[in-house]
């Protein structure tokens, strides 16, 4: 078995003419990690992947794989294998020839190649399908063939460029588990590119959130979800309600914000922004829909939100309540369905409680949807 090696990006800049695709990226990926770059399309995550795999020379900075600088090393000489977004299976080769392509390059005999391809086919649960053409397989099967083909090259780092985006929802969810299992079985480093936060959260050990060429935050999925570093990370990863306002008072990691529409709100300053909020600053507070609780009027204290209910819906596992928020945006509240009775509050003003540790404050900035 091949051990995964670390990948480091040092002060990486990538420019296309005047356009800066990646701005000063610094990332250390541990060997054997499942690491995701998460961001909307056009944020530069694929560019980073192409720089790691060697299809792009960085304009500045270095890519290190296993501690070795990869400057001037072509894609065919790097210990990486890339799974393309459209998989890029060779359409005229049979499945087994596709899988064993990297051995064909090295001049392995047909028998050797066939043997190795059959092993890998077994690993991806496609025994006996080796003589088909890629076009004769289903989407999920093609997906697994692409992985087998990449693994056959025995890379130290596997790069995956949104490989699940072409699949339907059910299959996508199934493949997440499968990918994670494969990664744990082979033990090499996976670098995964996605715009789907669900994929990133479920599979990754660590995630880098990217926006417009800049890496906003790197950390475990839980950290990014619970303790986002930027408004972008907060709003891009998972659903979030944003409250804008001005800082009234700061004490320790607590901040009191005079919100534009929802009165004074007490919140916790996110770890990355400690010491960066002062009185009078524009701030944003993020509270997730599931962090609210219905409260009886008068018992709220200072960590509550009250607003008029515009719409309600029942989603099975949760009740969603939409209330008037600021900036024309609705506040979404999700209450778990525990079998309780639920009366309609449409048109009424409701008061919702939250736990201060679930209300994250940070300096105002760009949101994902803007």
């Amino acid at each position: 078995m091949v051990a995964g090696v670390g990948v480091d990006l040092e002060n990486l800049w990538i420019r296309f003419g005047d356009f800066v695709a990646v701005r000063d990226a610094n990332v250390n990926i541990k060997g054997g990690d499942f690491f995701s770059f998460l961001g909307p399309s056009g944020c530069g995550k694929t560019t980073i992947l192409r720089a790691v795999s060697g299809f792009l020379e960085p304009s500045e900075g270095n890519v290190l794989i296993g501690g070795k600088n990869m400057k001037g090393v072509g894609p065919n000489k790097r210990p990486t294998a890339l799974i393309f977004q459209n998989l890029a299976l060779f359409p005229l080769m049979k499945v087994w020839e596709n899988i064993a392509f990297s051995m064909e390059i090295k001049g392995a005999s047909a028998a050797e190649r066939r043997k190795r391809a059959d092993e890998l086919l077994e690993m991806i649960a496609l025994e006996g399908q080796g003589d088909k053409l890629p076009s004769e397989l289903s989407g999920g099967q093609r997906q697994r063939v692409a992985i087998a083909r990449a693994l056959c090259a025995e890379p130290h780092v596997l790069l995956l460029d949104e490989p699940l985006s072409a699949l339907d929802l059910k299959l996508r969810q199934h493949m997440r588990t499968e990918l994670r299992e494969i990664q744990q079985r082979v033990g090499i480093t996976f670098i995964y590119i996605t715009h789907d936060q669900g994929e990133a959260l479920t599979m990754s050990d660590n995630i880098a959130v990217m926006r417009a060429g800049v890496i906003d935050q790197i950390g475990e999925g839980k950290t990014i979800y619970n303790d986002p570093a930027t408004p972008f990370a907060a709003s891009f990863v998972g659903e979030n309600n944003v409250f804008r306002g001005k800082v009234k008072r700061v004490s320790g990691d607590r901040v009191l914000v005079q919100s534009n529409r929802s009165g004074e709100l007490l919140a916790r300053i996110s770890t990355a922004n400690l010491g960066r909020l002062k009185e009078g600053d524009n701030a944003m507070i993020f509270i997730r829909p599931e962090a609210f609780e219905l409260a009886k009027t008068g018992t709220e204290g200072d960590h509550y939100v009250s607003a008029r209910v515009i719409n309600e819906e029942f989603e099975g596992n949760v009740f969603n309540i939409f209330m008037e928020g600021d900036g024309g945006k609705e506040i979404k509240v999700s209450l778990p369905n525990l079998g309780q009775s639920f009366d309609s509050h449409k048109g009424q003003t409701m008061t919702l409680k939250y736990d201060v540790k679930n209300a994250v404050a940070m300096p105002a900035g760009v949101l994902a949807t803007e």
Binding site: P75, N76, A81, L82, A88, F90, S102, E104, I105, K106
Partner: protein, 415 residues
């Protein structure tokens, strides 16, 4: 009413159009089997295969075919590789240069062939002199000049064919190959080239046909390598023979053959693909897919078989069939006709003579009529009796001398 009239006129138009398009070829093919030495479909005289044997004994034609094949092979190789390189370059050239580049590589299609021939000749002649080579160096050989001259524009055709396929190529496939450790050359050979193979095959066929039939450029460059087209043009310009029709017929048959074979393979592939699609996984992996028979649902294949059988039958007939009897019959018939006319003529002349003799018994010469001296030999019954044994026939006596045999003319001249 109106609609059916419209439909009728469309079909009529199509019929006229295709008659214009295919009629000449059909008529030309027919003349290859008719015995008169001027290629003609009417009047039909005798079915003959002699023009085919005449064709195969013509060393200039055979030499021309050899040169054409040689030049065709060179042109195919050069123009397909240049066309492929040109097409690949087009996909990745600097955007600002793209339009200019495209204009340059497409221009040879529009430049008149004679201009290409002249410029090739002039340029390489100059290069040859600059390098100080003699007039018999490679650079001034007809082989080299013709290949280079033809490839200049044939490569543009190839480029167009190849670019159409290349546009459907996913560059990620090359990247995938590189990523899996292939060198650029390996990625090209193992991934791009197999993908391009159908287009390369079409381009090669196109290039060969274009080279084979090229005249305008080749006529300036062929030097000591006259191609078939050049030889044909020389022949056609200075007199035409049904042997050329025979050659044309062979080419027509080969073309139809190739076209049908191509159609049949395409159809076959479609049918096989459909069968594979409908097959279950178990059938596929067990290799037990029941494929349709070669001929079922494949009109082109059926036609192909029919044409093949027809060809075999015709060639078989040709080896045993002898038109001598028919030709002799026709000749005999012509002789009889001519004799009959001569007889008639003589009778008339005799009558005239009698008439004249009655009027002026002494003055007229016995052979009589003015202006007939040149025909005298022909009309002489003794000469006529000698003719049938000779192969030459005085070239279609009926049409050429038709006017002379007209009794009225004769009567006029007699007076």
């Amino acid at each position: 009413m109106n609609l059916s009239f419209l439909r009728l006129s469309i079909w009529l138009y199509l019929a006229i159009f295709f008659a214009y398009l295919l009629g000449p070829l059909v008529i030309m093919s027919v003349t290859a089997f008719n015995s008169p030495s001027f290629p003609s479909a009417t009047p039909w005289e005798c079915l003959t295969f002699e023009w085919f044997s005449a064709l195969f004994q013509d060393t200039r034609i055979l030499n021309g075919i050899k040169n054409s094949l040689l030049i065709g092979a060179g042109t195919v190789v050069l123009s397909v590789t240049m066309g492929l390189a040109g097409a690949l370059m087009l996909t990745q050239i600097w955007p600002k240069l793209r339009a200019t580049y495209y204009t340059v590589i497409i221009a040879p299609i529009l430049i008149p062939g004679v201009v290409l021939g002249i410029s090739t000749l002039v340029f390489w002649d100059r290069i040859n002199r600059m390098l100080g080579f003699g007039p018999d160096s490679l650079l001034s050989s007809g082989l080299f000049l013709t290949i280079v001259g033809q490839s200049t524009f044939i490569a543009s055709y190839c480029m167009l064919v190849l670019v159409a396929r290349l546009q459907r190529y996913d560059i990620a496939l090359t990247e995938a190959a590189l990523d899996l450790g292939a060198t650029h050359a390996q990625a090209f050979r193992k991934v791009l080239l197999p993908f391009m193979r159908p287009a390369i095959a079409s381009a090669a066929v196109l290039a060969f046909l274009a080279s084979f039939e090229n005249y305008n450029t080749t006529t300036f460059t062929f030097g000591e390598y006259p191609t078939l087209t050049i030889e044909l043009a020389q022949k056609v310009r200075y007199g035409i023979s049904p042997a050329i029709s025979a050659l044309a017929f062979i080419i027509v048959v080969l073309t139809v053959f190739a076209a049908l074979a191509n159609e049949a393979t395409i159809r076959r592939r479609e049918l096989v693909a459909a069968a594979r699609r409908n097959a279950t996984v178990a059938e596929l992996s067990g290799g037990r897919v029941t494929l349709p028979g070669f001929l079922s649902g494949n009109t082109a294949a059926v036609l192909l078989v029919v044409v093949s059988i027809a060809t075999i039958v015709v060639v078989g007939t040709a080896t045993v069939y002898s038109p001598d009897q028919c030709i002799a019959d026709v000749r005999e018939q012509k002789r009889l006709e001519a004799e009959k006319r001569a007889e008639e003529l003589r009778r008339k002349r005799d009558e005239e003579r009698k008439l004249k003799a009655e009027q002026a018994p002494v003055t007229t010469a016995p052979s009589g009529s003015t202006g007939s001296s040149s025909f005298g030999g022909v009309f002489d019954p003794n000469a006529l009796q000698g003719v049938p044994s000779e192969p030459e026939e005085e070239g279609g006596a009926d049409s050429g001398f038709g006017g002379a045999f007209d009794p009225n003319t004769l009567q006029g001249s007699g007076n």
